[in-house]
């Protein structure tokens, strides 16, 4: 359960709201129980007085206090229930926003650790399903359990006062057992299944996304049916497990109800004894069993909530993994142009690699002057992209230092956001005007392409820029980097997918645009680079 701790801390930041919500809940529960109990008391009282009156005896009964009480509780139950629900659900949704944003921020800080094609699917599921799972925590688990305990205690104390200590003790043990069955026992029984379930569910989601991403290849091979069949079987196994969890919760609920009902029987039996001995009046004897009947409502939501707790704990565990601080230390410094002695980048003796693996390169040094053009050529795996990542600060070096002017970096991967052309470009420079955007699109020869579209700059780019060809997408992200007014520009394979003619037309304009800035251009061969002052070969 320790997995939940950081999230409980985050939740408790809204302590005021939580307490008000809990009090509203308590008011609702007590109103409901009081309504029934008072009515039971009132009926018994009137029955007894009625008998006396019928027998011709003198009897007095105060009708106003219980009558008023009954009406009051009838209204207060309705009102407090409605208020409680709205208030508490609003709290829960606020908590969800808090959690989402906190999570995204921490992931953003966590940096480069999560890379590779599969992270999209996993992160998506975490940000939605796992965060959603945490909503069960306060409203479904913490508040109802606490309130069930409080209300039960109130009834036990009342029993102690009105009935006797022995009856109260019996009652206490029955109710404790009922709470245990409805909460902890359900949790213990379903925790493993429930936790596994969310893992299986997420694994299946990953598989479905993979299925969709590989759809072209799979359908070419005529294998979509078989692959889909596998997904169907997984889904079926999940619904089986889910059904087992649900029926566990159902049986536990019925047992805890049975225990509360047995407490009613106990209260009635001992009440009958006490009444017979004349230690208790009839109306008071009725009060307790009827109040206990009202307790069933309090207990009934617990089993379902605790059946889901296993999944919540598992979700919290995964989220914790995600945001645990990155052990890498950062020895990259951003500097102003004055302190760099005419250089744009100074790399001194760095070693870079992924933790637990041999460094990809070690003791590497490099100096780039302001306005210099440097080409870096190397085979696959030589570490070009890793070097570029280190310069841009996406990964930190294990040793050595990097001092650099602010830099703009075109990554090897082409990333286009599901948004308009304009929004995609403005990321590079949020103060750019439409004129600037058209100019830069002109430079990469995309202006005509979007001028043809009805929406112009507001043309929506579909999933991963689907409607753009590979070369067009590459030129668009190149344009985005060019818009960034940085004194150092790092371009990793800038012309991926761009045909030779277009590349040859763009290159001189690009050179002109970048004049006065230091440019590091990385590629698998000299032809993939901008014309540069000198070229390094990375081996």
């Amino acid at each position: 359960m320790h997995e939940l701790r950081p999230w409980l801390k985050l939740i408790s930041l809204r302590r005021g709201r939580l307490i008000v919500g809990a009090l509203l809940l308590l008011a609702t529960l007590l109103s409901g129980i009081s309504l029934l109990a008072l009515s039971g008391w009132f009926l018994t009282e009137t029955a007894l007085v009625g008998l006396l009156l019928a027998a011709g005896a003198q009897a007095y009964i105060n009708l106003y206090v219980p009558g008023g009480g009954i009406r009051f509780f009838a209204v207060s139950r309705t009102v407090s229930r409605y208020l409680e629900r709205i208030y508490n659900h609003n709290t829960v949704l606020q908590l969800l926003t808090d959690i989402r944003v906190a999570l995204f921020d921490r992931m953003a800080v966590a940096g480069q650790r999560e890379r590779g094609g599969k992270t999209g699917a996993q992160w998506l599921s975490r940000l939605t399903a796992d965060v959603d799972a945490l909503d069960t925590l306060y409203l479904r688990v913490i508040a109802p359990t606490a309130l069930a305990a409080v209300v039960s205690l109130i009834l036990v104390v009342a029993t102690w006062i009105v009935f006797s200590g022995t009856v109260a003790l019996f009652l206490l043990s029955l109710l404790t057992l009922a709470i245990y069955v409805a909460s902890r026992r359900v949790y213990l029984q379903t925790q493993a299944m429930s936790g596994q379930l969310s893992d299986q569910y997420e694994a299946l989601r990953g598989d479905v996304i993979e299925h969709l991403e590989g759809y072209a290849e799979l359908s070419a091979a005529g294998r979509t049916g078989k692959h889909a069949g596998r997904l169907m079987r997984q889904a079926r196994a999940i619904s089986r497990t889910q059904a087992r969890v649900d029926s566990h919760a159902g049986w536990h609920q019925s047992v805890s109800h049975l225990l509360v009902n047995l407490a009613v029987v106990l209260a009635l039996w001992s009440g009958a004894e006490l009444f017979h001995q004349g230690q208790l009046t009839g109306p008071l004897m009725v009060l307790l069993p009827v109040a206990l009947l009202g307790l069933i409502e309090v207990y009934s939501t617990l089993p379902d909530a605790f059946a889901k707790l296993g999944a919540t704990v598992a979700a919290a565990g995964r989220l914790n993994e995600e945001i645990s601080p990155n052990p890498d230390h950062n020895n990259r410094q951003l500097a102003g142009p004055d302190s760099m002695a005419g250089n744009a980048l100074v790399v001194r003796d760095i070693s870079v690699g992924y933790s637990g693996h041999a460094p990809i390169f070690s003791h590497y040094s490099l100096t780039v002057a302001q306005g210099e053009r440097l080409g870096i050529v190397g085979a696959s795996g030589a570490g070009k992209s890793t070097l570029a990542d280190a310069i841009a600060g996406l990964i930190s070096s294990q040793s050595g230092t990097i001092t650099t002017l602010p830099c703009a970096y075109l990554t090897q991967r082409t990333v286009i956001f599901e948004d308009t052309v304009k929004a995609n470009l403005l990321m590079g420079n949020s103060s750019a005007t439409d004129g600037d955007l058209w100019r830069i699109l002109e430079l990469v020869e995309l202006a005509e392409r979007f001028a043809r579209e009805a929406d112009g700059l507001d043309t929506w780019l579909g999933s991963a820029g689907n409607r753009l060809s590979g070369g067009e997408a590459r030129r668009l992200v190149l344009a985005r980097v060019l818009l960034t007014p940085a004194a150092l520009v790092v371009l990793d394979e800038p012309f991926t997918g761009v045909d030779k003619q277009t590349r040859e037309r763009i290159t001189p304009q690009l050179n002109h645009w970048l004049e006065g800035r230091a440019v590091i251009c990385l590629g698998h061969g000299p032809e993939a680079l901008l014309p540069s002052g000198h070229t390094l070969h990375l081996t």
Partner: protein, 533 residues
């Protein structure tokens, strides 16, 4: 079954309350000691046991009831995906599609497991209680009856509003999920441009919008339960006061003169049980609303027009031949200019054909047509005698495709029966041999073992290895060397060379000199027209 068990529990509840009231009456009015009433207490405990068993059985059978429905829905979505083809599918984000397949279908469960059985119970149990109360005291029964018919009315009114808002809510979630996937995929880019802050703000805003919309749903949804709560509370209050006055003998008309503590208390105890099934129903109302919302999303997807115009070819006409033929093929997307116009083309089997021309000229579209991923607006295509896509073929897109698992798993995706030796040799053909040697378990080691996954070049070579393994006649490749590092490029070229040598029909789009040199024939595609170079 679910309803039966629920009804059993309901009847046991009535028996429980009757016994309780009878016992109270015997103790308080008749003055019997508890020891004389052992039989009553035993019967009471028996009723409790039956009630618990009924309750348990009800949830037990509800848990299993919607499996079939969910399976059918998933099957239909699969069928739709298949009919749409990969190109159309790629228009929707994988996140949104997978959410439909998983979460939306799962949302149907609550409706079938909880809402529908509870709907029957909400009729059966109140009627049973009403009949019983009527027998005890018809005036009290009329109080209950008066409050009851209003409830469905209110709930219907309230439900209609909730439904609409709920649908909107589902759309929001689906969009949000797409946005998340998108942002997360581009997290590195966001970091580079220093935009994580503003992305996080957008997220905050969207979450908040989502909260506001959801609160709207909830305010309405809770109103329905508040209405119920109100009627239940008022009915209890009215009945308590009516019975109290009746017992005192203040009410001189109707059946109230016959009220005893037994009947009075019983009516009081049954009053909340009368409303309980309806209250549970209203708690499950959101199950219905989310199921309808989810169902609507699924139906919208299923009803989406499929670009693939009805399969034009009839199976009788199929006769294997050695020719890929296009006649009068025209293809255009939404915009006015056709991508391909009135193309006549034939390609011989065993040839390697390069498609070249400016970006956006229609090379990819032609490959998609040959693959059967999209259908032409006009004209006919025959691939070696079959309609496009009817026979398995090799496809290499610009994004390599791999799944979480071992190298062998990945190759068996398309060739499940391949032997380990064949898999290893296919991987060697594309130059992945050295990677395998560095792993202890060879082809049975996990792909993402080093925490980095595959580079673009490696992923594409992996896809190419699948093609080697499967031994297809026709292989379509979309810019097979674009964006590759020098090593991968050489390896891919070598691999393609081997494929061409072995007599496969290769059709690929490219600008690459070495690839153009490999081709037996080069076609230039520009402005919707195709000509030989």
């Amino acid at each position: 079954m679910t309803v039966l068990a629920g009804a059993l529990a309901g009847l046991a509840t009535i028996a429980q309350m009757a016994l309780l009231a009878w016992l109270v009456h015997q103790i308080v009015i008749a003055g019997q000691p508890a020891s004389e009433l052992v039989l009553g207490f035993v019967l009471l405990i028996l009723a409790l046991l039956v009630r618990a068993a009924g309750q348990g059985l009800q949830s037990h059978s509800a848990a299993r009831c919607s499996e079939q429905v969910r399976r059918d829905a998933r099957r239909q979505l699969h069928r739709h995906w298949r009919d749409s083809g990969p190109v159309t599918l790629a228009d929707a984000s994988a996140g949104a599609l997978s959410r439909e397949w998983l979460d939306h279908v799962e949302a149907l469960h609550g409706y079938f497991a909880r809402f529908i059985p509870q709907m029957s119970l909400a009729v059966i149990i109140p009627i049973a209680i009403l009949a019983f109360v009527f027998w005890l005291d018809w005036l009290a029964a009329i109080f209950l009856l008066l409050s009851a018919p209003l409830i469905p009315l209110f709930m219907a009114l309230v439900g209609m509003g909730a439904e609409k808002v709920n649908q909107q809510h589902f759309e929001t979630i689906s969009r949000l999920s797409g946005q998340f996937l998108d942002k997360v995929r581009g997290l590195t880019t966001l970091q580079l441009f220093g935009q994580t802050r503003s992305a996080s703000e957008t997220l905050h805003q969207r979450s908040d919008q989502y909260r506001v919309i959801t609160m709207k749903t909830l305010k309405i949804a809770f109103l329905s339960s508040a209405v119920l709560e109100f009627f239940a509370s008022v009915a209890i209050a009215v009945i308590a006061i009516y019975i109290g006055f009746g017992l005192l003998g203040y009410i001189s008309y109707g059946p109230s003169a016959n009220l005893t503590l037994f009947s009075g208390l019983l009516i009081l105890l049954l009053a909340p049980e009368f409303f309980q099934p309806l209250r549970i129903l209203s708690q499950h109302y959101h199950d219905r609303a989310s199921a309808l919302g989810a169902g609507a999303e699924i139906l919208t997807r299923l009803n989406q027009p499929i670009n693939a115009a009805a399969e034009p070819q009839t199976p009788e006409g199929v006769q294997p031949c050695n020719m890929i033929a296009l006649s009068g093929v025209t293809l255009s997307y939404q915009s006015a200019n056709p991508v391909l116009s009135d193309i006549d083309l034939s390609i011989q089997r065993h040839q390697a054909v390069a498609l070249t021309g400016p970006s956006g000229g229609g090379k990819s579209s032609l490959l998609h047509l040959l693959a059967g991923f999209i259908q032409p607006n006009q004209g006919e295509i025959s691939v070696l005698g079959y309609p496009p896509g009817k026979q398995p073929f090799g496809w290499l897109g610009q994004r390599g495709f791999w799944v979480q698992g071992t190298w062998a798993d990945n190759l068996r995706l398309t060739c499940p029966d391949a032997s380990d030796i064949a898999i290893e040799s296919a991987l060697r053909q594309v130059g992945l041999g050295s990677v395998l040697e560095s792993r202890a378990q060879g082809i049975h080691s996990q792909i993402g073992e080093d925490g980095q996954g595959l580079s673009g070049g490696q992923a594409r070579r992996l896809s190419l290895a699948r093609i080697f393994l499967a031994n297809y006649d026709l292989i379509l490749l979309d810019e097979p060397t674009a964006g590759l590092d020098a090593t991968s490029e050489i390896l891919v070229l070598e691999a393609l060379h081997k494929l061409a040598e072995s007599g496969k029909t290769l059709i690929f789009s490219t600008h690459h000199h070495a690839l153009l040199a490999l081709a037996d024939r080069t076609l230039i595609i520009n402005n919707g027209e195709i000509r030989d170079a």
